[in-house]
Structure formats: C-alpha cells, structure tokens
Amino acid sequence: MTMQRFRLKDLGQVDRSKPLRFKFDGKFYEGYRGDTLASALLANGVHLVGRSFKYHRPRGLLSAGAEEPNALIQVGEGNSTDPNTRATQMILRDGLTVKSQNRWPNLTFDLGYVNNLIHRLLPAGFYYKTFMWPASWWMRYEYWIRRAAGLGEAPKGADPDRYEKNHAHCDVLIVGSGPAGLSAALAAGQTGARVILTEEQDSFGGSLTYNTDCTIDGLPAFEWVKRTVAALSSMPEVILLKATVTNGYYDHNYLTLLESTDNDNQTGSEYKTRQRLWKVRAKRVVLATGQIERPLIFRDNDRPGIMLSAAMRAYLNRYGVSPGNRVLLFTNNDDAYRTAISLKKNNVPIAAIVDLRSNPDGELVDQVRSEGITIYPGHAIVSTAGYLRIKSAKIMQLSEDGTKLIGSMKEIRCDSIGMSGGWNPTVHLFSQSGGKLRWDEELAQFLPKTVTQNLVSIGGCDGTQGLSNCLKAGLKAGAESARATNNKGRAPRLPKVIEPKYNDQRTIWLIPTERANGKISNHFVDFQNDVTASDIGLAAREGYRSVEHLKRYTTMGMGTDQGKTSNVAALAILGETLGTTAPNIGHTTFRPPYTPATIGAYAGRNLGLLFDPVRTTVMNECHKGLGAKFEHVGQWMRAWYYPKPNETMQQAVNREVKAARDSVGILDASTLGKIDIKGPDAAEFLNRVYTNAWLKLAPGRARYGLMLKEDGMVMDDGVTTHLQPGHFHMTTTTGGAASVLEWLEEWHQTEWPDLKVYFTSVTEQWAVASICGPNCRKLLSDLAPDLDLSNEEFPFMSVKEGNVAGITARIFRISFTGELSFEINVPRRYGPKLWDALMQKGKKYDICPYGTEAMHVLRAEKGFIVVGQETDGTVTPYDLGMDWIVSKTKHDFVGKRALKRSDIIKNDRKQLVGLLTENETEVIPEGSQVVETPTSAPPMVMIGHVTSSYYSPNCNRSIAMALVKGGKEKIGQTLHVPLRNKTIKVTVTDTQFFDKEGVRLDG
C-alpha cells in the first residue's frame, strides 16, 4: 500500500481517525472517511484516472463534482458492478474495488492511443462518413468500434443489490446546500414548513466546504454551515438529504431524487440498501444549484494534472489534498487568485499565474502580488507537454484584442494546472422544469428567464455573485416560499459576511494557437467525447449550423456528463465561427437524469413476485392438489392442464378434451369478468352497447353479446343474463373485465347520463365451476335434487337459482364448448366446497378437470372465437362471419355507423376461416403467415395469419383458424403456410370443425 503522500497535515474535513483501504486497478491505496474516490486517489498522487473515448488520450480529474467528464470508474465486481460512476461523487468506503475504463491492456499502456496518433484522420463525423457504407458492413465495423470505445461494462446477471423508493410531499423542496440553499432551508424551516433539502455531495455546504477565506457572523464559513445544519436537524419538519442527486424535474413540481445510501457504513445488515429513489411532490421548489466552472480551451488542455481552479481549492481545503508540487494557474477571472492564496497558505509551491486579462487588479490580485507570486497579465498558455502527467506549459502574450499571440514563447515547468474560464450557472433542473433561458451578454452566461412551474432560482444558478448576496437571496426565497405555502414567519436577519471581492473576467472562448499555419489542434472542448474546437469549426463548415445538428454530428455533449463543462463553450465557439453569438445559436435541451442513474433504483423492490400482483381463484389449492400446471392469463394464474404421472402436456390435453365430450369435464371459470348491472334503464343501456337486441330478453334468460368500439371493431364478448326485471349479470373476457367496466362507465357518464343504470364489478365475488359433457346433467342433479334440469324447464341460455351441494347458487345454462353445460356460480368463499363436491360426486362419471388449454381446443372445435386471439382491434363482426349478431333494425348501437364505412363493407378484408392441413397430425404454429403462392424464399405476398391452431382429439386431426384476405370466397381452395424449413399445405374451410349441427348442446 502506498502512503498518502499528498495529504496535507491538519487540513480539511476528512476523518483521519478512520482510514479506509481501497483497490484501484488492482493496487491497494488508503484514504479517509469523508473522502471521495477522487480525493483519495489524489492524496496518493494518482491523477491519471481514465482514457478518453475516441483518441484514448490519458485523462485526469478535471473537477470535484457531478460535472466530471474524465474520471469515469467501474465500481465493484460481479453483478454488483456499476460502470461510468464519477470518482468525484463516489463516496469512499472500506474495501471498495474500482477499475478505470476504456483502456486496454492497462491505463498507462493503452493500445487505443494509436487513435490519437492518427487523429487527424478521425475528425468529427468520421464514423458516420466512413463506416456507413456499404450498409451491410456496418455490423462488422460496429463490433470493433464499440470494443475500442467501451464506456465500462454492464453486469451480465441480475443486480443483486437492494434499492428502495420513497414517496414524499413537502411545502418547499430546496436543491443544493450551498450558502443560498442552506439559508433558504433555515428561513423556511423556522416557520415550521415541511422542507426537504438535498445535496449531491456527501457533506452540506457547497462552496463553503472549501472557500475558507470567508467568515459569517465572525465564524469561519464552514463553522456556520455546521451550526446551520445542526439547527435544521433539530426541526421536526425538515428532511436533510446528502449524497442525493436531484436528477429529474417533471410536471407539476414532481421531482426525483436519487440518494446513495451505501456509504453510511451500514455493515452487517443483510438488508443493506444501495440507493433510494425519492419521488417528491413539492408545493414550491427552490433551485440553489450553484455554478459549474468552465475550463479554458487551449492546446493540449486535457493532460492529467490539469483541473478546474475551484476543484483544486476543494481538494485542498475540503479533503486536505495537495494537487502537486508545482502548480501553474491559468485564468480569465479572480478565482485562480483565490486558489493561489489557499495553496500558498498551505505551502504548496506555485509556478505562476497566467491571466488573460491585461490589467488584473483588486484585493485578491494585490494579495497574490504581496505573496511574491509571479503573474503574467495578458498572457495565455499556448501548449502543454507531458504524457501521463503534465510536465510543462508554454505561454505567450496576447494581442490587445485577444485574437493573436505576440512576443516570444516561454516555457514553465509544472506538475499541475488550475484553470478558470468563468462560470456556468447550473440551470439543468430549471430547464427540465420547462423554464426558458436567456443569454446574459455581460456575465456571458445562460440564466433562467421564463418560469413555468412553482419555483424560484436563487444564488449562483440565477447569476447571483458573492457569498453575502447568495445568503440574502436564500433567506428571502426561503421565507417567501414558506409563506406561499401557508406557513407564517419572517426571514432571519442577514448575517455579517467577510468575503473576497471579485473583479470582472475577460471572456476569450478559444485561446489562439501559436502554430505558424494558424491551425487549431487538440483544443479540447468536450473532454469525455473528445470533441475539439476544430471539430466544431468543421461541423460549421460542413453546414451543421443548428446546435442540435452540431451535437449529433460531433457527439458534443452526448457523453454521460451531457456536456456540463463543455456545452456553453461549444455554443460560443460555433457562434463565433458562424459570425453570431451564443444566444442566436440556442442551446440543446436538458433532459433528466441530471447524472447517470442506476436502472435498479427505478425498479426498486418491484421485482419478481412484487413486479405485478398475481391473482389466483379461490379454488387455487384444489388445482394444486390435482397436480395442475398453471399459466398466466393477464394477472391471473389459471390451471393450464392437469398432467397425470408420466403424461406429456399434449397427452394430458388430449385426454381432457376427450373426457369433456365423452362424460363430464370441469373447469374453474372464476376468472371471467362479471359485472352486476342494475337500474330501470339497464336493458336500454345494453341495447346500446351490444350489437344485438336486448329489450325483449325475458327475465331468467341469457344472451350472447358482442361489443364494438365506435369504429366498428370487436372489443369484447360474453353472455349477459337477465336475472330479474332491471337486474343483469354481464360476463366479459378474463382480460377485458376492467376495461369493459370502464367502457360502460364512460358511455353512461359521458354520453347517456340520463339513463338510470349502475355498474358494479363482481368478478371476485363469485366462484364459478363450469361442468360440461353428456353426463353433467346427471352429476348436477345428484347435487341439486330439488332442481328440474330438463331441457324444457331449464333450456339453453337461461338461469336458475337453487341449492347445489348445500350452497345457494346461480346456475347458468350456457356453453363455451358446444356440449351440454352448466356454469355454477357460488359466493366466493364456497368455491372450494363446490369444487370438491363436484369432484367427489363426479367420480362415478369419471369427472375430468380440464384447464385453459383444453378449453381452447374445445371452443376451437366449435369455431368459437376468443377476443384478443381471433381479433386484434382491426376485426369487425362481419370479418368473423358473425353477421347474425349485428342487428339490422336497431336505430343505434356503439359502432353501428362505422360498420357501413366503405372500407368495412368491401369483401377482400381479412376474414376468419378454418384451415385443415394436408397432413392431419401436423399442427401449424400460431401466428404463421398464410400465402397463396409460396416461393423458395421470402419475400412472399402474405394474405393472412393463423390465429388459433390445435390438435383436436375429437376430430382426430389438427384444426386451425386464420384471418385470410377475402377468406370467405376462398373456402375449398388450397393455401400455404411457409415456415423456416418447410411449407405446410392447407385447405380453407369454415370454422366449424365438430358437431356442425349443434346437437350436443342439449345433452
């Protein structure tokens, strides 16, 4: 293990009594509790953390926060592994194992670097231009490109970690805990308002964690942070969330927060939660997201050791880590001076400050001067040297207008560079909320303009500068937001602040080149995607002038960092190239998530059995006892078939199908949708939603009905029974139960509110055993001796109430098999009792329980359709050959007019027909295409598809139904079903395969 050579004594907020061991690229290192992976690596002198995406250039840490483009790390091993994690946000924990990405075979020797040597051959759009032709080769190219340009590895198996979700409401959600956010939380919290404060880092305070040169009410700034956090912690209605990225801002103040919880040292617990996704509905949102520092764009500005000035200050003051042994600073504003003073105070040697401004002045500049630090005013870095770590930089003087370099070149030795190109307000969430931005010429920043949700932007993200101003804005916004959400209270007094004063910056987007030919080269704008200033120029020259085109052509801003450090500079450079300004270019759309998020967090606990509810019928245990296999039908688990020992599925289904027609079969039909319909206008209502006539259906009688959508397409079917005057019992398909109820409500509430009718779902209230077959009447009369079950007294399509096996039951004489059949409905809790009684009494008839598969074969033998199988929302009753069910005399029903449309009445629509295979034992796969003239290979003209296909033991052959173009006229013809390795010859028939006369219905 290496020592923490760059850790400074007694500086920063890490806990030195808690050393942590971690492994980076196979080597062990030590850090402290309170470190990020980034600060711990720097403490060990490791700047080189990754390779760039396209050219495989060595890259180091650029930032200390969410904006990090370079330090993307593969965290963990096995299925827990997580790619593309920013080392700057990765909270260090003991035993952490991490790897660098995008390098092979290792970080210091990467073969992909050859891309850099030929990089003039790999300009923007190179992949598109070169590899897109010929199209058939793209798959081959893609394999190699993706291999070379990998962004980490996805785990191969299921994520073993646990994630949770939390739903919350609050008065005020405050994003960001810098001076503005903290003071807003304090002001709002004091009123008793329900406040949630989120902070993406592991410690509250934002810039106050590292700006040690300020005091608030006489306290060092970070002491004020600690006091404020302590005060907030004592407020019962305030929730403080650190290590929590607010990553999505959606409609109506709905925000998602992703909290990392695997850093609390919650060891030992087997229910350790890795991340928690918060879904928050906030009455008001305060965005205090601060600003992100801009890099300067000069030649070879991407070498390891070059980082942002404020990030350098953060590593120094927050983590107690020195960036190097000889620091050069390069700036266009006062920020680097502030960093220089901090470095000097901690005895870190400073090479010089290179300042783009010709006459820097002010208190910070004076202080630096008095420390004896060399300043090069009106100068710029023109190139750097050093492969795995910066070694030196060359500087030159700038012309007065900043577009040229003059004078002689001077080389300065250094091992790190802190740069500052000014600041970009972090407007991502504001923009996600629907807010529009404006370009502020003076600040050279995009700032919030039009607000569309109940929010306020304060502090840095609103362009506010200076600690005192941010505190003031926070106190004001916090108190106002609390009052706006019906809390009473006043803003606390503004504390007394001592802070350094900043002077103006000099914005030069692109540092000129010293090269004689004037060519801009290796001026990196987007570090993660290796987009340079010359790529942007090339895109502009090739006509990609819109920012959205620029983005897609150069891949600018398309990395996992979404261009947080690069977008604005790219826009400005594009603007300069096109002779206009950034606001005229516009900006790309900001989309959630703000930083990459683990999919597991969005799934949460909704996995496996918790993914979707599983519904079982009350007779479930009976089926299990009979050895049933189950299948999913929507959310239901239905008995599929009941195999005997050593029986295959086909053998079991054949046996069940035979038994149902030879003696007695029994089916659990409880899942059918059931809707209780009551009211004096119930019959009139049914008459309007079904295609056939319902007004004359007598009480005690039942009728099959077909429902259409208003476009004439079949939507659902089922039998509805008139129980008593004004009281109907409707059945729907198993899958359609909920949507049919909604459909009825819709028509009643919105179209015919004058009808007096009420709907109640009773699907779960009734258990249903359906018995069928020639002996089922005998079986039922054994259990219901008081009932007259004769055809005369209890005809087909009627209902009786009576006592079955001691249970009051509704018995429907309806049939989905074409056999004599009774559907016995009993109150749910009596389901198992009824089932057991039927099974017991049925023994003497060899009663056979049958599952959904046999049910399908039985109904297909009779040509009965299943909505959703024979229909798909494009099928009319005429297409199904069900003209008989469409009333010609009714004035109106839903879908009536649509059935007269020219497209519906033409006779070459796809129509339902039967198909019989030439080889009687061959069963066509469902979904197969039907063709008239097969050819040796696709494409072929497809005229339809197979909707149902089974082996029918009662017909002793396979049977199938298909929707075939002009099918009715093709009956008797031969068609073909081409499969992958053969073609099946079929004859078109009608859809009645068994008992065409229907004599079995009465037993």
Binding site: G434, E746, E751, K896
Partner: protein, 117 residues
C-alpha cells in the same frame, strides 16, 4: 407526472387516472345521414393543439368518475377542471370551445339540428 384535481377526490397523481382524449366531441344522433367523410370528422379527426386543449379524464383508480380538463399542452398547466356534460366556465375555456373547428363540423351540426327539433 401531472397532479390532477379530481372533482370528487381532490389532488391525485396522474397514475390514478386514464386519459380520455378530446372533450366535447358530440356523437351524431342520426349518423347514417352523414357521408363517410363527414362521419370521420367525428370518429377519427382530433384537435391536436399546441397550447390550450379541452380533454376528458377518468379517475380509474379512485371514484371512476369522468370529468373534463382545460390544459395547456405546452406547459401542462391545468387551468380548469369541470364536470362531464358541462361546458368550461373559464374565459379561456369558453373561447377555446367556441372557436374549435368542430363547432362547424357536419357531424356536430347534425347533433345540433337534432337537439333543436
């Protein structure tokens, strides 16, 4: 995710609701007298506006009641919630209703004629 105020239950997340498309599409009473083209104005043609729109929602996972909403499709701001079978009462809603192309469609004028009879 929208936050919708059900007239009966109060504010709920939109996951509890189903969207019901454009509101105030009157169903032609004697549709047989419409040509296919005229009928398609009722059946298929929907106002797909950028900005204000009148639409139907149903509180499926709550009270099962249908109601109407005046919403801005750009900002998703909900300006008005009002019962089914009523017209909007806000000024913006009234204007949108009055100026909608559907008021002049053949399908709707047929409905109006029927009501007048």
């Amino acid at each position: 995710m929208l936050y919708i105020k059900c007239p009966w239950c109060g504010y709920r997340d939109d996951a509890e609701f189903h969207y019901g498309g454009e509101a105030h599409i009157k169903r032609p009473f004697d549709a047989d007298s419409l040509s296919d083209e005229e009928f398609s104005e009722y059946l298929f043609q929907k106002s797909n506006t950028k900005g204000l729109t009148l639409e139907r929602w149903v509180h499926t996972s709550g009270c099962r009641r249908w109601f109407n909403v005046l919403r801005n499709t750009v900002t998703n701001e909900i300006i008005e919630v009002y019962p089914s079978n009523q017209l909007p009462s806000s000024q913006a809603g009234k204007e949108y209703y009055k100026n909608n192309w559907r008021r002049k469609s053949a399908a709707e004028s047929l409905t109006t004629r029927q009501v007048e009879k």
